[in-house]
Symmetry: D2
Subunit: 364 residues, 4 copies
């Protein structure tokens, strides 16, 4: 991908480093093509708070990519902010979100949804994917004004386990939500990886057609920051800017968001970055499989979750950054290896080589 970098740009090549970095997809800076555009346009003057021409142009690109000429598009800075704005926008106080126990809104947002007054009704899912029986159960358990009123189904794609939805799965969920008067919202923090995965059969247009609202994540796709909230359902359009402002989500120099999405959505960069992340992850995955190591969840995206003996974890942590998700009872741990726009092929190979060394010495 380095070949797409404009010549004027500072080289994106990371300094030689002993450590390989699989810690997260937001631990490297900005994709050079994006940063270059931000620099080039820095001298222009703009109206504030997202009413500028860059944002309008980026919104138009989103409308084209989603085939939704009437969609409302709002650019926010981060994922938790976008999720809490979406829920505050859609729900009355007694209405609840349905999410799996691994959903970002259930667990990793410090009660942000509850802080807007809404319950997140948690359903259990082995792989983090939402399925109709879980929703049915939530509806069966909430049947009067003594319970909350489930109103919005939250899914993320990819999910927090690296798994992803097929088109037919989203179609079923969408139809079910519509039949039951519920909103269907998709968190696309890792949508670049999802839509570029070999397992993917979804397009941005499909997602827009099947959901009431969703967002396209730039933070984990090479952006400096930024999530584009796309609203198709007319009932959710009015006063969204009030909701965003009230939650502190209206960026003063909003065109910095617009510029990033312009670059991502023009010339396919968004999907190229996703494909790069997935390709790097596939090297890791193949190496793990060659070692006969299993995964906690099957993932074809930029997050891989091998289950490693704790001694191996300790050994690998000497040279590589990654996360320990959960220590299991049998002396192994679920580990997360996460790739980003900046992951180098070389560091993936180094990881695989190191893993093989550790495995063989463990065997020996």
């Amino acid at each position: 991908m380095a070949t797409t970098t404009p010549p004027s740009m500072t080289s994106p090549t990371p300094p030689p480093s002993v450590r390989g970095n699989f810690a997260s997809d937001y631990s490297s800076g900005v994709h050079p093509a994006i940063l270059d555009a931000m620099v080039r346009e820095n001298t222009a003057r703009h109206v504030g708070y997202g009413l500028d021409t860059r944002c309008e142009n980026a919104a138009q690109l989103v409308r084209q990519a989603t085939q939704q000429p009437n969609a409302d598009v709002h650019f926010l800075v981060g994922g938790t902010q976008t999720n809490l704005v979406a829920c505050a926008l859609a729900l009355r106080p007694w209405e609840a979100v349905i999410a799996t126990q691994l959903g970002h809104v259930s667990t990793f947002e410090c009660g942000a949804i509850e802080a807007t007054g809404h319950k997140v009704f948690v359903v259990q899912s082995p792989d983090g994917k939402m399925r109709i029986p879980y929703i049915e159960r939530a509806l069966r358990e909430n049947v009067s004004e003594h319970m909350v009123l489930p109103r919005l189904v939250y899914v993320s794609n990819t999910t927090e386990t690296g798994t992803q939805y097929t088109k037919s799965e989203l179609e079923e969920l969408s139809a079910f939500c519509r039949a039951h008067g519920m909103y269907f919202f998709l968190d696309g923090a890792r949508l670049a990886s999802a839509l570029s995965s070999p397992l993917n059969d979804l397009s941005l247009a499909d997602i827009a057609a099947l959901t009431d609202m969703f967002y396209i994540g730039a933070t984990k796709a090479g952006g400096m920051f930024g999530e584009a909230l796309v609203i198709m359902n007319d009932a959710l359009k009015p006063n969204a800017r009030y909701c965003i402002k009230q939650r502190g989500g209206l960026l003063a120099k909003g065109w910095m968001l617009g510029i990033q999405f312009e670059v991502l959505l023009r010339d396919n960069l968004f999907f190229e970055i996703g494909a790069h992340e997935n390709k790097m992850a596939s090297i890791l995955k193949a190496g793990v499989e060659e070692c006969g190591i299993t995964f906690a969840w099957p993932s074809a995206s930029n997050q891989q979750f091998p289950i490693l003996p704790n001694a191996m974890v300790t050994e690998l942590a000497k040279d590589f950054d990654f996360s320990i998700i959960e220590a299991l009872d049998d002396g192994t741990s679920i580990v997360r290896l996460c790739t980003s726009w900046a992951t180098q092929e070389d560091e993936c190979h180094r990881f695989v080589a190191a893993l093989k060394r550790v495995v063989s010495s463990a065997v020996a």
Copy 2:
């Protein structure tokens, strides 16, 4: 100030434009020294969410500049977000903010404070400055559990009218708050302009010594975004990161905030930018005064509020961007002229010349 720009940088000179821009201090991009640092450090890898070395270094610079070695420093993206986080962090549900009717939290944040559950008890102030008698009245009017419990006094410096606080004024307010068990919080969105104004006798260290919490604004001082929340009061320190995360204010690539504050606080750039803004505004002010035109409020900072006949407003609006604050009953309007890091001396002189032309033709 252009001379401080490193040679490697894209020129900060705006393209020749017919229109002069006094619309706001956040309508131009990023000061080149800041953007340059962001570009130079783009290839480095960092831990996310503000736990990186750039943020720690910037926090250390804040601690030095404020002479508060034990201060907690948190970097947030925008002003409304910072204000709502500060109030949510400080207050129990029944506790209220005291602010003037012109305070940013009273009026311009779409009820963000109320959305965290807290009343903003509004007191009237002719020039937007908080004074002890106003607070005393708020305390006198709220005396039992049937009313709210006023607990945090909010001031901004400069205020929304361009006025500012002297050291003795802040000392009195601070002493009063401490004597009455109230928190004293200063919104420093325009602190660069305030502390660089000819009327100023305050330092960052003074403000830190006199308040429980305050913030240093970068958005309106040449940053891309960013406000540094500085907490001196030990009671307000625990769990601030929880509060920030819950409100969607924890930036994933947090080092982008740290870098900006490093540049601003190293080598005095923060104050240079404030001084530049004020100097540009002083040209406008002198021109307005020469024309015998009065101001709604006396300001020595980067916002000037002349009262102009509506016909003049229409005429000037042909070539210049500025805001109409309030249409008065007598056919005049209060107008805001606002300068930024990017305001050019030339465009100020052009405005003054245009004003003189309009005035003389009105007289003729």
Copy 3:
């Protein structure tokens, strides 16, 4: 009114007491006719949470009295609870209430509305009555997503100053609200007094026709507790019980509310109690006027607000309970004399006699 007491009842006559009680209209127990019904029906079994036959019957009486066969009626325990439920039911997070500075929701509910996330936008009114120019100003000052969106106009009848609305005043406010897409809500905590005042030309049916929601107060009209929230606007009807339950306002033994409203609305007791309160207050008012003492606000209802020299206040406080509303700068205070269903004619005359004594000794 003692004559309406059923013979079986415990005597409502208060024990002879040295002190006269004008402290409030909720400082005496329950009107005997109401208490008698509660006792008589105590052995019946009911479904919980307001779904019982007593509540349904009381709701039907409300629908008849208001000539609103399709109104939804909900019985809540207290006024603050009802106001906060009404606002939470009507408003999206960024929408605000407009109320005068004397409105109960503005001042005397410990920020209950703000605790549901909504700003109360306060407008100044000399006598506590809402008027169209105040609303217009609120609309003029809130014009974009940087400000809140005013959406519900709150009035109380009688107001907190004892003043009240005429039919034409309510008609104008109602028409204005409808023309501007705002909800019109009337707090009827003291509606019994208002509708029984000599100045009144409104009926329950008028109020129902002119507002979107209002409530009929029983607590200050001889009930043990209870406010009947009446919803005419179809948009506000869905899920009101969810809203009430969520705010802790669904009484388990809900029929205790229904019974009280049955008694109040059958046989005109509600209006008789209001008339009694007003008649008692008119004795006080006439006595005050005879002494040449002026009132802070003109009231023909059960609250009277004479302005008394502080020495007189001290003297009268020896034998009578009443409230000091505000100490003025000139050595006088605004005092509130409040009558209830249980106020005795005799204690009113005693107050007047005492006042005359105090006045003449002050003159002498």
Copy 4:
């Protein structure tokens, strides 16, 4: 009315009725001894909002019964209100409640806790009782500012399944909470039944010594309404009345609460009512066991949960009111039989007889 009351227990005789009522413990009116006191004291005048002598006296009785001379006692109207006030009083926005999936706050309060902004972190418990390993897991899963901060452990006694805590169980939970800086709160909506059960070894004083806050429920123990919130922890005492007022929980004629608790806590009536409820339930339980029918949960309190074939449920429902808790997959249902202060021995025997008839005809 006192004359109709038998010496030990005021007569609860309901009118002869075809239907037996095991629907709930809040579907009958007020215990005659309580109602009698409310009637007798109706003529007295009081200060409003719980500052009266009756409430002070009742609070004193609570302090004596709990052996907590310094406890703060507040009287609220209902259970959901009390739970939400307790959580709002104890928690900062990012702090969470830990409760089991059957906890009243988790499920049956329409998201009331979330509406105050707090997450209820749900842990799974087969019988609804809280245990240390569940809390440990909650702590293990919430370890940084990306998750909530668990701060208050919620238990109810009896629980929602009729089970109850032993003294040693509460001691362990209490010690664990204190060791981990968490508040321990006990919902005593059914405390009368719990403390009068044959399995009980707890006193009010034990509960007060082991928790930070708890409440004593009157609604389900013969009261018209009312829950006494008892606060031992000094950190939770300040400004509780603000919190109660803000949530609409301050009853205007507050002495109506005080009177009820005076009667309940004087002369042991609270425990007599609990014992009566349990004795009635034990008749049902014995009858169910004689039929060889099993229970979903083991209960020695006033709620019994037999698992009945659906055909039997239909048959019994012709003559008796009770709740169906859950329809199981095997053609049976968990049913709740709930007794109250007003349950008659005769109707319990009638139920047992009916059950035996149904069982034997099913066998035949």
